[in-house]
């Protein structure tokens, strides 16, 4: 073999390895999650683990019911989507339909900059500004509630929703708008009956990815959600989302013990949830590309 041929082979191998590295990591993480997570199901039972209403991992005997944690995650995620959907989609519509070229050039990067603020900074902001405000506003014993976690997570997820929705809107071919105007539709009719339906699945993809960002966020909820592993009844109660439980308890759970395996099992379930979210987003966005006649 000549030197040049060998060199070419080496390059090929290097890039193949690099390309498959992320797949390797993914598979590795999943294997570890299953290996470390599933023992708890033997001990407690899968259904009892998922549906159990009490999370007292350190009492004697311990209770490993993650329903309060799952509901905590669910509440803040739903709350966050109530913030990030109107904010994100609304600003995407503004950017695409109303803002002039210069405004868009300025505003879109600014909104996307929101995504680059570290989550601990959001947590800090929530702790010092939003929490006292909510406590005062509602006269609560503590301001660390599902509500302010939702608010902050919603703001954090806004750039994702906005950016993807705006892309979806701008992918709607100009010819659709022109066709609509050409039969005598006004701007509002064109927007609501042609542009938004055409961009609809792209917008939903943005919303789902925004929610999956909210549900996976850890540092912020750890700092401001209040941390009570109790089934919440209103948005004004503290909650302990799954991510916060893992982060807070990992240090104190003895390695190889039931608590340790339970935390891995939570991580496994969290992974499955976000996995499903991402799959749905992928399916919808593929449908969207086919619908607009872009490549499938």
């Amino acid at each position: 073999m000549t030197y040049r041929k060998a060199k070419e082979k080496i390059y090929k191998w290097i890039f193949t390895i690099l390309a498959f590295a992320s797949l390797f990591f993914l598979v590795g993480i999943v294997i570890v999650l299953f290996k470390e997570g599933t023992p708890i199901f033997k001990e407690v039972g899968f259904l009892k683990f998922i549906l159990g209403r009490h999370w007292y991992p350190t009492s004697n005997p311990p209770d490993f019911g993650i329903m309060p944690l799952m509901l905590g995650s669910l509440w803040v995620t739903l709350g966050a989507s109530m913030v990030c959907v109107p904010l994100g989609v609304g600003s995407a519509l503004y950017l695409n339909e109303i803002a002039g070229f210069k405004q868009r050039q300025l505003l879109k990067p600014v909104i996307e900059l929101l995504a680059s603020i570290p989550s601990v900074v959001y947590g800090f902001f929530g702790l010092t500004v939003v929490t006292p405000f909510i406590q005062k506003l509602f006269g609560l014993p503590t301001g660390m509630t599902a509500l302010n976690a939702s608010l902050i997570l919603g703001i954090m997820a806004t750039p994702t929703v906005c950016s993807i929705s705006e892309d979806a809107l701008s992918y709607v071919p100009r010819s659709f708008r022109e066709a609509s105007f050409a039969v005598g539709a006004n701007r509002w009719q064109t927007l609501t009956q042609v542009v938004i339906p055409a961009a609809g699945s792209g917008i939903s993809t943005g919303i789902i990815l925004g929610m999956s960002r909210a549900i996976g966020e850890t540092m912020t909820v750890l700092m401001i959600a209040g941390g009570a592993a109790v089934i919440p009844h209103t948005f004004l109660e503290p909650v302990r989302p799954m991510t916060a439980a893992i982060a807070a308890e990992m240090g104190e759970a003895p390695m190889g013990g039931s608590h340790y395996h339970a935390l891995f099992a939570i991580a496994l379930i969290l992974f499955l949830i976000t996995f499903v979210f991402n799959i749905i987003a992928e399916i919808i966005s593929r449908k969207f590309r086919i619908k607009l006649g872009l490549s499938g």
Binding site: G100, F101, P173, S175, F176, R177, E178, A179, S180, F181, A182, V183, G184, A185, N186, Q189, Q193, V194, P197, A198, K291, L292, G293
Partner: protein
């Protein structure tokens, strides 16, 4: 047969920013006639046709001088609603652009946005329009299917039907066959000849044979100017201007 003026362009100048795209265009569009506009790429013929239904308004940084009228009424007068103008003057685009909706909804859309709610009326109108555009037989059994499943030629006829549904008076064709195969092109041309009985038609085309086949009047555009305008027969057999002659005999373009 007498020619009645349906639309008229008078001393029209048009600018993209500071670039003058059209220079002093004067042209009449006659009732129930086909008027073709020919010329090489970038000569301004597409820009010109888009002035007839105020489509260029949607393009930022453009400005218009001069007067364009429909039945004697200045279509750019502040009292005139662009929405009304666009309903009365339909447009078929270069690339077929059906909405990503069903075949039925593609036609009914124009009726709905113009405030018509009567279901029976809409259904009748959809059928009539599809028949007039000679596509009814091909789609009548699948009106609920997505319009994007149709072939290019069918999509273009669907777009024509979409114009007809809103009781348009003038139809502007902006290179309607540019992306179609010869058989679909022949069908569209046949349809244009049929439609001129009821409508006034303006067609921009790259294809000189097409202009010769379908039009009664032809205007030759070059670099934003209307070089020559007259009966199609005269333009193609005895052009007055040397540049027209050079173009139609294929010496440039």
């Amino acid at each position: 047969m007498d020619n009645k003026v349906k639309m008229q362009a008078k001393k029209v100048d048009f600018f993209y920013g500071k670039n003058q795209a059209l220079k002093n265009i004067n042209l009449d569009v006659y009732l129930n006639r086909v008027t073709a506009m020919i010329g090489p790429s970038g000569c301004g013929k597409s820009t010109f046709i888009r002035l007839f239904n105020r489509m260029n308004e949607l393009v930022p940084h453009t400005s218009l001088r001069g007067r364009i009228s429909l039945d004697g009424q200045d279509i750019n007068d502040p009292s005139v609603d662009a929405v009304d103008i666009r309903r009365r003057i339909g447009m078929v685009f270069q690339k077929p652009n059906p909405f990503p909706k069903s075949i039925f909804e593609n036609i009914s859309y124009g009726l709905k946005v113009n405030g018509i709610k009567d279901k029976a009326f809409i259904e009748q109108k959809v059928e009539d329009s599809l028949k007039k555009a000679v596509i009814w037989d091909e789609v009548k059994d699948r009106l609920g299917d997505s319009a994007l499943r149709l072939s290019g030629g069918q999509q273009q006829r669907l777009c024509i039907a979409r114009c007809l549904a809103v009781e348009t008076e003038v139809i502007l064709f902006d290179e309607p066959c540019a992306s179609l195969d010869p058989i679909s092109t022949a069908k569209i041309e046949e349809l244009i000849l049929e439609l001129k009985k009821d409508y006034s038609i303006v067609i921009v085309t790259h294809n000189m044979q097409q202009a010769a086949r379908v039009s009664d009047y032809t205007g030759f555009f070059l670099l934003g100017e209307l070089i020559e305008f007259g009966k199609t027969q005269d333009i193609f057999t005895a052009p007055k201007d040397k540049k027209t002659e050079a173009y139609i005999t294929g010496r440039f373009g």
